[in-house]
Symmetry: C2
């Protein structure tokens, strides 16, 4: 629950291969339960098991599944190869880190006792304005500019038949989180892109099956 | 300055190819200056220019340089392929995010006016204990366990001749940051690993040339 796993389910639906979802419920501390540590020593979700192989890190899982089960679909063209790598890494390494930091600095004031809340608000909003917000804004603006140039296409240019690539399976989720945080403009290429992705039949099936 | 760039310089030295370093000094806000935005729209460092190509995201730069200039050196064996991908993504997506969060929660109390510092300390250390520390500790413990199993080897098993791979060029830096934060045990496989990497001639040359 509350994980970054839906994008993996989305890809599995696009690949049209059989799979089974196991749900793990976070503890009161927000961390994964002990049972998930038995699957992978880092105890983070998503993690997949394929035969004897256990694979973690969303960007690796997405690449692995596309290469192994895609029959060439969802692979970037040679021209789009580096862009596909870039947005895959950017998704977790830059955008998601920035988004998580923003969520945390928004959440902290709500979690402290009410009599120190104004002070917590002051501290957090100062840090947000000076450091977190500029990072989030730059990341969102760069995504927006890129998507504008792509028109109706995918963020790294798509595969040879106009399908999404790993970059898209990775990028839709943190951009949705950005929308949730109110940092994405209403009439934006990002929102059109999210609508394009989430409007796909495979995405809709993923949401239905996607677990808790 | 204060960037994640040294690992790229280290790799360039290992590859023994000519390169030029351009230094960019962060503004008072800790963010990259406008001139870096002219190189790459995200304005983050490291970023490399190779001919007409501008490439960002450390994990992508490292892969690109090894593939283009390594003549097969520093490439993982087939058996180590997935591990190499894993640690490359883990480095920025998981470990570095956790480390940066830990740094921030340590720094905030020092940056607020002294009369609210005890309160800021209380808020930050509560959040650190409940969320940040467990994440850092798990990431460090998993790195430690893996390196212990590798003995004198590299984190993803190395290339066919026992040289480091992309995973190592990525992982040494955040582990050093972990040492700086005091979350790495004294007599650990991590410390031996860092010593092994930083003891290489190419690493020493990188430190000499590595800029501000």
């Amino acid at each position: 629950n509350r994980s970054r796993s839906l994008r993996i389910v989305w890809l599995l639906e696009e690949l049209n291969i059989p799979y089974e979802i196991k749900n793990y419920i976070r503890g009161a501390d927000g961390l994964a339960p002990k049972e998930l540590l038995d699957v992978h020593p880092l105890g983070k979700s998503p993690v997949i098991s394929d035969g004897d192989r256990v694979i973690a890190e969303s960007g690796v899982i997405v690449d692995y599944l596309i290469k192994k089960y895609g029959n060439g679909k969802f692979l970037p063209t040679e021209e789009n190869y580096l862009d596909n790598e870039y947005w895959n890494h950017f998704s977790e390494g830059t955008l998601m880190s920035a988004v998580v930091m923003k969520v945390i600095f928004t959440k902290i004031p709500a979690q402290v006792p009410f009599f120190i809340r104004p002070l917590a608000n002051m501290i957090c909003s100062g840090f947000d304005a000076g450091y977190v917000k500029p990072n989030v804004d730059r990341s969102v603006a760069f995504s927006e500019d890129t998507l504008k140039k792509r028109g109706d296409g995918w963020i790294a240019g798509g595969d040879k038949d106009g399908n999404p690539t790993a970059a898209d399976f990775m990028m839709v989720f943190p951009l949705q989180a950005g929308v949730g945080l109110g940092v994405v403009p209403e009439d934006s290429a990002i929102k059109a892109y999210i609508a394009r992705a989430t409007g796909r039949d495979a995405y809709k099936r993923a949401v239905e099956r996607g677990g808790v």
